[in-house]
């Protein structure tokens, strides 16, 4: 595992009478240890790894600062190679100055908008802030789920004090597949609220 701080988590799953064993990596920015690896490094590396067929993200705020050139190139290469990309960002216009940047979305669309396998969404709810930070790479057999505090911003990816958990899931394992399916369901729940 390439992570900064790795443990193997063995604990009870939501399935009775069973345990789920998976690889867990904790990433505390900016305390990235000797590797100095940041979340944007992880994303770029995973896009380039050739392991994944899809990438999903549900992130509260996107800023122009998060659109690193290397990251956009990685996303574009991934899409060009047939990878599916679905990203949802919060459109929290009045949340105390928060919310995604028009220009950030515009830049993502400029790079990715012509790929039929790329879908970008905006989520808005008047009395509730869209606040998840979920990043999910998946293939037929494995998945990498990143859950934490990092927004699609330079701060979130690199500069802020952030905490993220990286879960590597083996989808041949029934329980890990279950956890993966539940996560995918969450993503679809956002989009189901569309109609």
């Amino acid at each position: 595992m390439n992570g900064v701080f790795c443990i193997s988590l063995e604990g009870k799953s939501h399935y009775p009478h069973s345990q789920m064993r998976t690889d867990v990596e904790l990433m505390f920015l900016p305390y990235a240890g000797a590797t100095q690896e940041t979340l944007v490094d992880v994303l770029i590396r995973e896009f380039a790894s050739g392991k994944w067929s899809s990438f999903s993200a549900a992130v509260a705020f996107a800023r122009e600062s998060g659109n690193y050139r290397e990251l956009l190139v990685s996303l574009t290469d991934f899409a060009r190679g047939g990878g599916t990309i679905e990203m949802t960002f919060g459109a929290n216009r009045f949340a105390e100055g928060e919310g995604s940047d028009y220009r950030a979305i515009e830049a993502l669309l400029r790079e990715l908008g012509d790929f039929p396998n790329v879908h970008l969404y905006l989520y808005e709810q008047p009395d509730r802030t869209f606040h998840p930070k979920l990043y999910l790479f998946a293939s037929q057999t494995h998945a990498l789920l990143i859950i934490g505090s990092s927004n699609w911003t330079q701060g979130g990816f690199q500069r802020n004090v952030e905490a993220n958990v990286l879960l590597r899931l083996d989808l041949s394992d029934r329980e890990q597949k279950g956890a993966y399916d539940r996560t995918v369901d969450v993503f679809h729940t956002y989009w189901r609220e569309i109609q």
Binding site: T88, A91, R93, F94, A95, E96, G97, E98, G99, S100, D101, Y102, R103, I105, E106, L109, R110, G113, D114, H119, L120, Y121, L122, Y123, E124, Q125, P126, D127, R128, T129, F130, Y190, W191, E193, I194, Q195
Partner: protein, 240 residues
């Protein structure tokens, strides 16, 4: 879509502009033009109406005088919600001598009492460092308590954490509707300065709270004007 539920929409190159209102555009050229126009208008208003807030510090008597009472005066308080009357811009100006622009803020949900989730409405407008004025950043920790409202009679509201208050008359206009002269409480809590530099002074909407909730909207601009020098008129709040 059910009531209270959020929405998600696919955004494309073709329809992105239709989402503009839901996205931050603080660096956007149109926003910059909007602010520039507002600044220009403010400069013109200031030039035509000499303001005590123009350039030099004010020299009010009793600026830091505090009376040792538990609560600020509630004189002239009435229970009824002010009724709205539609007036033209010229009529509004005729209602009282308005001085220069003191401060502006783009209102957020909290300011207009539309709280999120389980959060209770604050009941107040926070005097934050929301806008630069006269090309100088407002130091919100002292600008309102000392420079703007320093000549009013402040009372100790609470000793721990320390909080002062005073009642000030404002002439309030929202979207062209004049709500007349309303006495509102301004509170100053120095301990707030330690909390991420957010705000230390706030305006409590009091009997205007329902009016603000129904008439004002997040994203609108609130402008605070001083009384014209030498006049006995109230401060002016305009939301549009």
């Amino acid at each position: 879509m059910k009531k209270g539920q959020g929405w998600a929409r696919r955004v494309t190159k073709e329809n992105l502009s239709s989402f503009a209102a839901y996205l931050r555009q603080t660096d956007y050229a149109s926003e910059a033009r909007l602010h520039a126009a507002a600044d220009e208008q403010a400069k013109m208003e200031e030039a035509s109406a000499p303001s005590p807030f123009k350039g030099t510090a004010l020299n009010f008597p009793n600026r830091f005088h505090l009376t040792k009472v538990k609560k600020a005066s509630s004189a002239r308080r009435t229970s009824s919600t002010p009724a709205a009357i539609a007036v033209s811009k010229g009529q509004v100006q005729a209602l009282g001598p308005k001085g220069g622009l003191v401060w502006r803020k783009r209102l957020n949900r909290s300011d207009v009492q539309r709280s999120s989730g389980s959060t209770n409405p604050t009941g107040c407008l926070r005097f934050t460092q929301a806008r630069k004025y006269n090309e100088q950043a407002v130091d919100q920790t002292s600008f309102f308590r000392q420079d703007t409202f320093g000549n009013f009679q402040w009372s100790i509201l609470k000793r721990s954490p320390y909080e002062e208050a005073t009642n000030i008359a404002f002439h309030v206009t929202i979207n062209g509707k004049a709500f007349g002269e309303v006495e509102l409480q301004v509170r100053h809590k120095p301990s707030g300065e330690a909390h991420q530099g957010n705000y230390t002074t706030s305006l409590h909407w009091g009997k205007l709270i329902k009016t603000i909730k129904t008439e004002a909207a997040p994203g609108q601009m609130l402008s605070l004007y001083a009384p014209r020098t030498g006049s006995n008129s109230p401060f002016f709040i305009e939301i549009s």
